[in-house]
């Protein structure tokens, strides 16, 4: 979706302001939200792509005023609301309504290490051969879906070169919709900074994006 999250190339957000000796978490509630997200039982069919998409559906003003782990709160709460697992009233009070069944299959602490070190492989084998070869010239499609996409606005309709083939991976756009993994070939595509930003960019500078095959056409 063409949301506020898609901020590559925007102006006016001010200085970056790195913080010296920054702690991993600034507040206890940030740590709790991080741990909660990683530890909790998610609704059936929930994926990391769905999680990202729900963050993108935050109203723009909330997106810009809530901090990172508050985004996690929003997407988590939203996923539970949409699955009918909680109500707004329960989120407000922190207590389950009378008669709600209680589950007993939550992740155990001893599973954390394995999940942290082994989780999250998105590579998939597919039958179709890759449609593009390294070095080939491509142009990104001008796609404006209302759902999740990993093709940012600044890189639509732009000419680039296939820099590397990553193999096939889960297609984020499908996975976020709940339409399954629909794996596609994934490429690192190299764009000149001038193609993306015009003549003021340094002629030798480059921007690389990882793009799925259905974002691309041969040039």
């Amino acid at each position: 979706m063409n949301g506020i999250h898609d901020m590559g190339g925007m102006h006016g957000f001010g200085p970056i302001a790195p913080e010296a000796n920054e702690p991993v978490f600034h507040e206890d509630w940030e740590a709790r939200m991080f741990g909660l997200r990683r530890a909790m039982t998610s609704p059936r069919g929930f994926t990391i792509d769905r999680f990202r998409f729900l963050r993108e559906t935050m109203p723009p003003v909330t997106y810009l005023t809530w901090s990172y782990y508050e985004h996690w709160y929003f997407a988590t709460a939203q996923s539970l609301l949409q699955a009918g697992m909680v109500t707004i009233e329960e989120l407000r009070t922190g207590h389950a309504a009378a008669g709600r069944p209680k589950r007993n299959d939550a992740m155990r602490p001893e599973s954390v290490e394995a999940a942290a070190t082994r989780g999250g492989n998105f590579a998939r084998a597919i039958d179709a051969p890759p449609g593009f070869a390294v070095g080939q010239a491509v142009v990104t499609r001008n796609l404006n879906p209302t759902g999740h996409t990993r093709l940012p606005r600044y890189a639509r309709g732009k000419r680039g070169l296939i820099h590397h083939w990553h193999g096939a991976q889960v297609f984020a756009d499908s996975s976020a919709r709940g339409d399954g993994e629909c794996p596609q070939h994934l490429y690192s595509v190299m764009f000149s900074a001038r193609e993306l930003w015009g003549a003021d960019a340094a002629p030798q500078d480059k921007v690389h994006l990882d793009l799925w095959e259905s974002y691309l056409d041969a040039l």
């Binding site: 901020m7 590559g8 925007m10 102006h11 957000f13 970056i16 302001a17 991993v24 600034h26 507040e27 509630w29 740590a31 709790r32 939200m33 991080f34 741990g35 909660l36 990683r38 530890a39 909790m40 559906t57 109203p59 990172y68 782990y69 508050e70 709160y73 929003f74 988590t76 709460a77 707004i88 329960e90 989120l91 407000r92 922190g94 207590h95 007993n104 939550a106 602490p109 001893e110 954390v112 290490e113 999940a115 942290a116 070190t117 989780g119 999250g120 492989n121 998105f122 990553h166 994934l186 690192s188 900074a193 340094a202 030798q204 500078d205 480059k206 921007v207 994006l209 990882d210 793009l211």
Partner: protein
């Protein structure tokens, strides 16, 4: 899903405005529903406060500096070479390592969210997740580097890596001069998080930047 927009207009306005209260309420509720074990929350926090952080990425960098064969494997197949050192993990199974040289400077960003190689660098700093960095890194990387005190010459080539898939990027910084006699462990202690994101160089030991 047809109900994507069902609640979002009012969610923020209907839950406690203080994030500490809001998140406490969510945790209490999920504990009551049996959807989370608080001890598992503690374990995740501890794992990222104590065990997983930039010291992991620093080990990879130091190994690449002292072992040319390892460096070659690392640049050709990042995940394979990092797997040799048992440092792959969630948010970092697919890793590409990009090398800084006197004429090429790499910079990593995620403009759409905040993708970051967790197993190698831990959780991202606040600035990496912020709108100023995410917006500026792709359009004005040289300006970003200047904000971090790094001025690139006009001949240098800047390569920005926007993390738009599950592939995560790690910058292999240049080994600073004056480190020829240092051990691998000593070298690892010089490597900073920002150098592995690409917003810093590693200064020679004993010199100020």
């Amino acid at each position: 899903m047809a109900d994507d927009h069902l609640h979002h207009e009012d969610l923020a306005g209907q839950v406690p405005s203080d994030p500490a209260l809001r998140i406490k309420a969510l945790e209490s509720l999920l504990v009551e529903l049996g959807l989370v074990d608080p001890a598992t929350i503690d374990a995740w926090i501890e794992s990222f406060e104590k065990r997983i952080g930039p010291h992991n990425g620093a080990k990879i960098v130091a190994r690449a500096w002292v072992d040319p064969d390892y460096k070659q494997r690392l640049l050709a197949n990042g995940a394979g070479a990092i797997g040799e050192m048992n440092l792959l993990g969630s948010q970092g199974q697919h890793i590409v390592v990009v090398e800084n040289t006197p004429i090429v400077h790499n910079l990593v960003v995620c403009t759409l969210c905040s993708c970051y190689p967790w197993p190698l660098l831990g959780l991202p700093p606040r600035w990496y997740k912020s709108a100023p960095y995410r917006s500026q890194a792709v359009i004005d990387p040289r300006g970003v580097l200047r904000e971090f005190g790094l001025e690139l010459g006009p001949d240098a080539e800047v390569r920005v890596w926007d993390s738009t898939s599950e592939v995560r990027y790690l910058v292999l910084p240049e080994r600073p001069p004056g480190t020829e006699k240092m051990s691998e462990a000593e070298l690892a202690s010089l490597v900073t998080r920002d150098a592995m994101i690409g917003t810093a160089r590693i200064p020679s030991p004993g010199r100020t930047r």
